[in-house]
Every structure is written in C-alpha cells, then in structure tokens.
C-alpha cells in the first residue's frame, strides 16, 4: 500500500448490537481505505452491514444497543475513535457528510427547506443568518431547484426534489468525504439518473471523495472507481471495477451477478443463490457464505477466513483460493 494520506482508513472494524435474542454481529472486522477524489462502492443485500458501516464512520451507531467493539476509523488523518461528542459534531457535516436513503424522513417537516440547509452552514461557519440563507439559496440552485422554493416545506416538494435538498444539506459545507447511503433507492429511474448525474458533476467540481452504499451493481458501475462487496458483516471481495466485474473471484459476487436479469439475454433462466442470509446472531465462525456456496468444501465452514490479496488492488476472502487450481466459473469466462 502506498504511503499517501488516505481520506478514509478503516481498520478491523467490528460492530455488535446487543439484543434480546443475542448479540447481532453486524460488522465483523472490515478494512476499507479510500484515496482522495476516489469513489468506492459498498455493495450488499439487506442486513449485510452496509448502513452500520456508514453510521460507524460518523460515530452515529445508537449506543445502546450498538457497540463499536474494536477497530479504528480515520478520516483525513483524524482519529474518530478518540474524539469527544462535541468534537465529533464539528467533524460531521464539515469533513464528512452523509446523504440518507429516505428523503421523506431525513428532512424536518416543520422547517422550510432553505433554513434546513442554512442550519448546517451556521453550525460550522461563523456567518450571519442572511449570509447563511444566501448560501443556502445558492446550494439549492447547484442541486437544480429554483431559489424561490427555499421557503417551501418538505411536503410541498416531490420525492426527487426532497432528495436534492438532502444532498444540498450534505454538500453545503463542501465536505471532503461524502457518504451516500442508497441515495436513489426511493426514486424513479429517470429521477435516479438525474440525481446520479448531479452527484457526479458536484464531485468533478469540488474533488469530493465518495463512499456509495447501494445494492445496485449498475449504479456502482456508473459512479465508482472501486467496489467492496459485503456479505453478513464481512467484505468478501474488494477491488477496482475491472477486478470485480471482469475478474470476479468470490462465489457470492458471482451469485449476485448471475441473479440480475440480463437486458441482452432474455431467455436465460436466472441463477439465483439458494437459501437466505444467515441469522445475524448465529453467524458461522468460518466462511459466512459457505452454507449457500456451491463451491464450499468440507472445511470452509470451520476454517477462519482472512483477506487474501491476489494483486495490489484485488482482495478476496475465500479460503479455497489457497488451493492453486481453484477457479469459479465467472472468473474463468472473462
């Protein structure tokens, strides 16, 4: 790994939730790094631990029941784990900002949207109310909403416009790192295209780094440079887009691709992954994917998995690659 300072460095992060039914092991020792100006896609299905990872990066895990059990998180050289709550408040929104999934609940229904954008500016910068409102109006125009709408309340805006306001709040202080948690899942596909374009234009202008959390591999292909695939609290594969899309290594990643209906090949039957995700309170000690994996060998479920870097950029967490001859079908084909 190069020595240049990373915008984001997560090492061995483990997050648990204590529940009545036992300990939910949401995130189990993950490592993520992100360079300046880079975009990383974090992909996985419901319950994979994507959102927990994102919330950890802002130290927003509800505690209790959540606990960051171990690990370190550095954002632009700042060690988040040693910060106090008031120090964290200065970092959130200023150095790292988040776009939430559901624009309907992320906004405060009793304040006009312009004031909600101005609020985030006034928290981080010593500016007057008028100045903050003027900046808020400018932000609205950047995200493609007429400044007259600043006086509107969230319920007066459509879903797409609300998500634009959420983005304007996140971008208002020009954060260096943007975390987008399923930013377009609640939106229609043509509006999704508009919002993705907006994020892209903004990043080109301000050189913002991006962590894009999504379940949609198509969105990753269009917005990211690298991708990390999460399953049951583990990152099972990580690499550049070319590594993961064209030289897929992990059986779960292969299964995800095979599950998608192919626009170019209509008659094909979908190759679904059998079974369902493991109960997060009873995650196996060995490979978390082994119970659903068609390549699983006898000792997969027992042998602890570790990150196996097959090249400088490409990591796979699968012990079968210790056998020199092991290959999966998709990896072979391309």
């Amino acid at each position: 790994m190069s020595e240049t300072k990373k915008i984001l460095k997560i090492e061995d992060l483990t997050v648990h939730y204590d529940t009545e039914n036992g300990i939910v092991r949401a995130v189990n020792g993950i490592n993520i790094t992100l360079d300046h100006k880079e975009a990383l896609g974090l992909v996985g299905e419901t319950g994979a631990g994507k959102t927990t990872t994102a919330l950890s990066m802002l130290r927003l895990i509800p505690d209790p029941p959540g606990r960051i059990v171990s690990g370190s998180i550095e954002i632009d050289g700042l060690d988040l784990m040693s910060k106090t709550e008031s120090e964290l408040e200065k970092i959130r929104g200023k150095d790292v900002a988040m776009i939430f999934q559901d624009p309907m609940t992320a906004l405060n229904p009793v304040f006009p949207v312009g004031e909600q954008i101005a609020e985030s500016i006034r928290i981080h910068e010593h500016v007057s109310y008028q100045e903050a409102m003027e900046r808020a109006n400018e932000m609205l125009e950047i995200v493609g909403i007429h400044r007259e709408r600043a006086k509107d309340y969230p319920h007066q805006l459509s879903g797409g416009m609300k998500q634009r306001v959420v983005i304007a709040i996140a971008l208002a202080c020009h954060a260096k790192l943007l975390i987008a948690d399923e930013p377009t899942t609640a939106l229609d596909v043509t509006i999704q295209a508009q919002v993705l374009e907006l994020i892209k234009e903004y990043r080109e202008r301000y050189h913002t780094s991006l962590l894009m959390i999504t379940h949609d591999l198509g969105i990753v292909a269009e917005t990211c440079d690298r991708v990390a695939v999460m399953y049951a609290g583990n990152i099972v594969e990580q690499g550049t887009l070319r590594d993961v899309f064209n030289h897929t290594l992990h059986p779960y990643t292969e299964g995800l691709f095979a599950s998608l209906p192919n626009i170019n090949d209509r008659a094909a039957r979908l190759n679904s992954i059998p079974g369902t995700v493991p109960d997060p309170t009873k995650i196996p000690d060995g490979c978390v994917f082994a119970p659903r994996c068609s390549y699983a060998a006898d000792n997969c479920i027992k042998s602890p998995q570790r990150d196996n870097w097959v090249s400088e950029s490409h990591m796979v967490r699968c012990s079968r690659y210790e056998e020199p001859s092991f290959k999966i079908i998709r990896g072979n084909a391309t």
Binding site: A193, D216, L217, R242, S259, L260, P261, I263
Partner: protein, 321 residues
C-alpha cells in the same frame, strides 16, 4: 388466433379531487392472449397499479370494459364477481402488508380454499395447503408459523401460494419482487416463470423495473400519466424503442457491466400533475424532441410497424431519432 383471454377497452379511472379531476387511468386498451405475459411499466403515479386493480374491480373503473373470456367484469353483480375472481388472482407488492399478521401460514393459504369451497373437509384443506407450499418451495415446517417470523422472500411465496390456491387462469402481479433483495428476487422470478409454464397461466406483470419486465414478458406496455404511450413485443421494444419517453427510460437503467457507456438521455423536470390535464401529448413538456405539432391534440396510439404501437406525432411523421 384465438380470442384473447383478457381484453381491456378504453378503461378509465378518474378521481374527483379538490383541485380538479385526476385522471389516474385514461382510455387504456390492451388484450392478452392465453398463456402469455403482458408487462406494464412506468414510474410512480403513471397509473399502472390502478390498471391492475381495476381489472379485478378492487377499485371500480369510471368507464370502459374489462372482458375476461368474453364476459364484461365491470357489469357483474357481487355473486358473479366473486365467482369470476376465482379465475383472476393478484399477487401484491408488499409481502409485509398483504398478509394478515394474526394468521398462520396455513390459515392464510387455506382461506381461499374455504371461501370458495374448493376443499371438501379439514384433511383435504391440510393436504391442499401442503401441496401448495411444496409448489412454491416453502418448507413444510413453516406450516404453523406467523408471517412476522419469516423473511421477505418466504412471505412473497405465501402470497403466491394463496393466489394459486383457487387455480386461477390469470394472475395480476403488482411489483411482486420490488421489495426483495436481488438474490431472492431471482428465486421468486424463477418460481413465477416455472409456475406459469407448468400451469399455462396468463400474467399481467406490473413493475417499474425494465430489466425485470424484459426478462418476464412477451409484450410490454409503457405507461405515462395514465396513458399507454408505447406497446410492443418485448424484444422489439428493447431493440427498437420509438417513443421519446421509452427511450429515456431505457437509457436511464444503470447497467452492471463495464462496457462502452451508451449516451444517456436525461429528462428535465419531473412527472407533471395528473390533475386537469390539457388535451395535448402528456409528455411534450418534458420531451427533448418536441415539435410544434406536439402542442396540438393528444396523439392516438397508432400501429407503427406490425404489433408495435406508439402514441407520438414525431414517430407518426417518421422523424424518430
């Protein structure tokens, strides 16, 4: 060709609102052949779910006819309608909201059996419920569990088993996989496809997801603001989309491949209000290819090439692309 199993003619559903007349569905017509699948796609608010519900008369259509095997459903009385609904069933979008939380899996699946007096006695009910659970791939150990104990994929299988219980001929699927993760979505799509082939079912598949509808349908109708703007066989629609809206919709799908990116058509603005619509092309305000003639009266759905219908002045003038 035999007469279609379902024929919808000039179906309208208008709601009177305080702000004016809301045309949720406006003069929608289509026909579905036995054993085939019609995909209905469109974005939120285009009226696709309303069409699905109006076919079963879960909402009363304002006007128009729905001919199922030649019989107009809109004119049936309550007894006849109940009988008719044995042949037409629905699978709902949200597997969390469409199942009664106080009933067990077996109670949910057996309800249509009892209501329609399909099973002879208690043993027969149990036998049929277990057979249905096998059909949809639900393990028998779930027989006495409640929906909240199960994940989304399994819940959707309950909904499918319940719909199949009365041996329907037509199933209206309203976004059956959009609440599910991709690996589970693939399981349910495969199941629906297998069942359709085995039982010769006719399907109306309502969804916002073009790649799903492409995978599943023989014919696709694209809706915008209550109207069908384009209708064509699935292969044809994807190979040769004509309406500017369809082309924008297709180009907006993010594709999970690292091949050459096609030029994306970004639509300006958002869907306009469906209240008090002017009598012009409903898309022309957002249309990136609008001409002067587009401000005229609304274009009719015309056959452009065999089987391929489109409602657009530009296409009619042969000026597409």
């Amino acid at each position: 060709m035999s007469p279609p199993i379902l024929e919808v003619n000039n179906l309208c559903k208008h709601f009177k609102t305080k702000r004016g007349l809301l045309q949720a569905v406006d003069h929608v017509s289509f026909a579905v052949q036995k054993g085939s699948t019609l995909g209905v796609v469109g974005e939120s608010g285009c009226g696709k779910s309303t069409v699905g519900r109006a076919i079963l008369r879960l909402i009363e259509p304002s006007s128009g006819e729905v001919l199922f095997e030649g019989r107009d459903i809109t004119k049936l009385n309550a007894t006849q309608l109940r009988e008719c609904r044995r042949d037409i069933q629905m699978i709902f979008q949200d597997p969390f909201a469409s199942l009664d939380p106080r009933k067990t899996v077996s109670q949910i699946i057996s309800e249509p059996l009892r209501l329609n007096k399909i099973a002879r006695n208690k043993d027969d009910v149990e036998k049929q419920v277990l057979a249905l659970m096998d059909t949809v791939g639900l393990a028998r150990r779930w027989f006495n569990t409640y929906p909240h104990q199960m994940d989304g994929g399994r819940r959707q299988r309950i909904g499918i088993a319940r719909a199949l219980a009365v041996h329907p001929k037509l199933i209206v699927c309203d976004e059956p996989v959009s609440a599910l993760d991709v690996s589970i979505q693939a399981q349910i799509l495969n199941l629906l496809k297998d069942l359709q082939e085995q039982m010769g079912l006719t399907c109306i598949f309502i969804t916002h997801d073009l790649s799903v509808v492409h995978h599943f349908s023989n014919e696709i109708a694209v809706m915008y603001l209550g109207r069908i703007v384009e209708k064509a066989p699935a292969e044809e629609l994807f190979a040769n989309p004509l309406h500017p809206y369809t082309r924008a919709l297709l180009s907006a799908i993010p594709i999970p491949e690292l091949t050459e990116r096609k030029k994306r058509i970004l639509l300006q603005g958002e869907i306009t209000s469906p209240i008090d619509l002017p009598d012009t092309c409903r898309f022309h305000k957002r249309c990136y290819e609008a001409m002067d003639v587009c401000k005229g009266p609304e274009p009719a759905l015309k056959e452009f090439s065999p089987g391929h219908f489109v409602s657009c002045y530009r296409c009619a003038a042969g000026k597409t692309k």
